[in-house]
């Protein structure tokens, strides 16, 4: 589904990604861990098409297409979704309005009929229930005045409505208490399917107890310095990053996919 090859990117004059290789197949869940400032969000941003990140070398294909040649909205319509580490507050834009417009753009692109207000609400309500989200969230401006937890839930809610084929969740767990974390994880797990892939960026293995990854990668200084199975996350939790940061790069991430667990 996603093939990243030797990806280099910079912001301003600063080189941040220094050759990322990553292959994500349909049905897989990959976790990306790594110290602050290692480039996790930059990678997510490059994939989503944020224009202040300039790709200086390498390639990315998504469903066989050159992802880097697409505008951010085209990537979204093709099925790429980024749950932001810091969801943007947009006062004056209604959450439901945005989501309906977004969903209908995606549907148009897929050749599906657009939803009217009633069908949209039915769908949205169903997904809100799934995620334990309060109805009133829909009528509020996008993320404006939301608590940290509400913002993260809103991202997952958007994902649940848009049904992307590749979801990148950038620290969706940070700032969530354990109950909220469980709800969010349950929502994410409900979306796991053989034709959908996920990349979960996190600092803590805790989330990975609930969203069990097939692969774990460690990003350091803009490179994947180690890859492994879910037990790597436990090891990192125990020992920190120090022991691998200097280690030679990356075992292959192209190990055969494991069985997908649903929680």
């Amino acid at each position: 589904m996603l093939v990243v090859r030797n990806l280099h990117a910079k912001v301003g004059n600063r080189q941040i990604l220094n050759g990322i290789d990553l292959t994500v197949n349909a049905g897989e869940v990959h976790a990306i861990m790594g110290p602050n400032g290692s480039g996790k969000s930059t990678l997510a941003g490059v994939l989503a098409g944020r224009d202040e990140f300039v790709v200086t070398a390498g390639s990315v294909t998504f469903k066989g297409q050159d992802l880097l040649a697409l505008e951010p909205e085209e990537r979204a319509r093709e099925g790429l979704f980024l749950a932001f580490q810091y969801p943007v507050e947009i006062p004056g834009v209604n959450n439901a309005y945005l989501l309906k417009a977004a969903l209908n753009e995606v549907r148009k692109h897929r050749g599906e009929p657009v939803l009217d207000a009633i069908d949209f609400l039915t769908l949205a309500r169903e997904r809100m229930k799934l995620l334990g989200i309060d109805d009133s969230l829909m009528d509020r401006p996008v993320n404006a005045g939301f608590s940290g937890g509400e913002k993260k839930r809103n991202e997952i809610f958007q994902m649940a409505v848009l049904e992307p084929s590749l979801a990148i969740l950038d620290e969706t767990d940070s700032g969530l208490d354990i109950d909220a974390l469980k709800t969010v994880a349950a929502g994410v797990n409900a979306m796991r399917s053989p034709d959908r892939a996920m990349v979960v960026v996190t600092h803590y293995q805790r989330l990975l107890n609930y969203i069990v990854p097939d692969f774990v990668h460690v990003l350091s200084d803009g490179r994947i310095v180690k890859s492994g199975g879910k037990e790597l996350a436990l090891e990192l939790e125990e020992k920190g990053y120090g022991w691998i940061e200097s280690a030679p790069a990356a075992a292959s991430s192209e190990a055969p996919p494991q069985t997908v667990e649903s929680v």
Partner: protein, 439 residues
């Protein structure tokens, strides 16, 4: 005397013809004569005048406008083609400043409310009673356009609401302008007298069509009675070649509540003046403005709030969205007189610049003579939030959709203040599709 098209002399000739054709009650006849002398003395303003420094009306001064030809063929289809919001209540339509009964409806005017054309009123026996209100707030001495309007006083709208009457349906006054072969000068006059403890909403819509320039020079005078509540809307959607100079004057009675919403969407040069005076204690006013400009449009909003009495509150918020090479001017004057203790005045002007070539000149002007007052003012100028833009696009919205949504969002608090739902709905839609070409 030779006629010079670009000098007021041509207006002198028109004035001479005009006075022969129309008769007015004595008081108004002398007001009219005074007004023309004022105009003649003042001439059109130039940028040398402080109040016109950033608004060059040379294109208006240099255009030989003529009084509109009578009997112009303007149909309901022409009116519908302008896509103005219709409010379903009483609606007076004016074509080039002249009342068009065939296009108007006064069905559903409640008891205690009179809505008439000024021409009708002037021909009526109570002309003198109405006349006392004309020119009382809109002073001719120092304002050429007001003087010009007053000199050619003949038609417009007169809305009278009796004391204690609450009017549910908004009253709609539509002013449409269209030039024939020559550029026309439309000069309607509006008078609203809201009696004590009455409540009314009035909507003025200004629009035009055609490629030929025109000037819609409007003067509105509003008397808000003691304890009255008046909600006033001015929607400016002039044609691309149209000029509008409009001034709104309101005097607020004791403990009354007046709000003005001036929304500008079109016109080559648009100047909206709003001048409010608290004439009694304890009044409250809201002065809101929204202006969208693109290409080479120029929109100028001038406001004056005169806190002449104590214990009055004023809230003022003007927002501009500027694209292309458009320019906007905002000048907000607040006067707090010596006796106006416990005044609370808040003013804010916010501008969203959608292109690098768009330009805003904003100037607050506070003249405070009392000491126990709360006055705040602020002005901000910003661009679209790039993070928000990316966020919206990352959800699948096109760049243009995202820009429109954020533009609409910028104006959403002002739209939220609009209590006439049909207007709010239409503006919502208009803003969501408004996008200046090339930024």
């Amino acid at each position: 005397m030779t006629q010079v098209a670009t000098s007021p002399h041509s207006y002198a000739a028109q004035f001479a013809r005009f006075t022969q054709q129309t008769t007015l009650p004595d008081a108004l006849a002398s007001l009219r004569d005074d007004a023309f002398s004022c105009f003649d003395r003042l001439g059109f303003p130039t940028t040398r005048l402080e109040e016109w420094r950033f608004t060059n009306v040379a294109p208006i001064a240099e255009t030989p406008f003529v009084a509109p030809p009578t009997g112009i063929d303007y149909t309901r289809a022409d009116l519908d083609a302008l896509h103005l919001t219709r409010l379903g209540g009483p609606e007076l339509v004016f074509v080039n400043g002249t009342f068009a009964p065939a296009l108007s409806t006064t069905d559903g005017v409640p008891a205690g409310v009179r809505i008439r054309s000024l021409a009708t009123v002037l021909a009526h026996e109570d002309a003198a009673a109405v006349a006392v209100h004309l020119g009382r707030l809109a002073r001719i001495e120092s304002h050429a356009f007001t003087a010009l309007n007053t000199a050619f006083l003949c038609d417009g709208a007169v809305v009278e609401v009796a004391s204690g009457v609450v009017v549910d349906t908004p009253i709609h006054l539509l002013f449409v302008t269209r030039s024939g072969a020559e550029p026309v000068l439309s000069q309607p006059r509006v008078l609203v007298v809201a009696g004590a403890n009455s409540q009314v909403r009035v909507v003025e819509s200004h629009a035009g069509d055609g490629e030929t320039p025109y000037l819609n020079n409007t003067v509105t005078e509003i008397s808000v009675g003691d304890y009255a509540v008046v909600d006033y809307y001015t929607l400016v959607r002039e044609a691309a070649a149209g000029f509008r100079i409009g001034s709104l004057h309101a005097a607020l009675g004791r403990s009354s509540n007046f709000s003005s919403h001036i929304i500008t969407l079109g016109g080559a040069i648009v100047r909206n003046e709003a001048r409010l005076v608290f004439a009694g204690e304890g009044g409250e006013c809201t002065l809101n403005g929204l202006y969208l400009a693109k290409e080479r449009q120029l929109v100028d909003n001038q406001t004056t709030i005169d806190h002449a009495q104590p214990h009055c509150d004023s809230h003022e918020l003007y927002k501009g969205i500027l694209g292309g090479r458009s320019r906007a001017v905002f000048n907000g004057k607040i006067i707090v007189r010596l006796d106006a203790q416990k005044t609370n005045a808040k003013q804010s002007n916010k501008t969203l610049l959608l292109s690098e070539d768009a330009q805003i000149t904003t100037k607050p002007q506070l003249e405070i003579f009392a000491n126990d007052v709360k006055c705040t003012h602020g002005a901000t100028v910003g661009q679209l939030d790039q993070d928000a833009l990316f966020y919206l696009r990352s959800r699948g919205l096109s760049r243009d959709q995202a820009r429109q949504l954020l533009t609409h969002a910028f104006a959403s608090d002002l739209l939220g203040h609009i209590k006439v739902e049909a207007i709010r709905t239409q503006l919502d839609a208009l803003l969501l599709e408004w996008l200046p070409v090339g930024g």
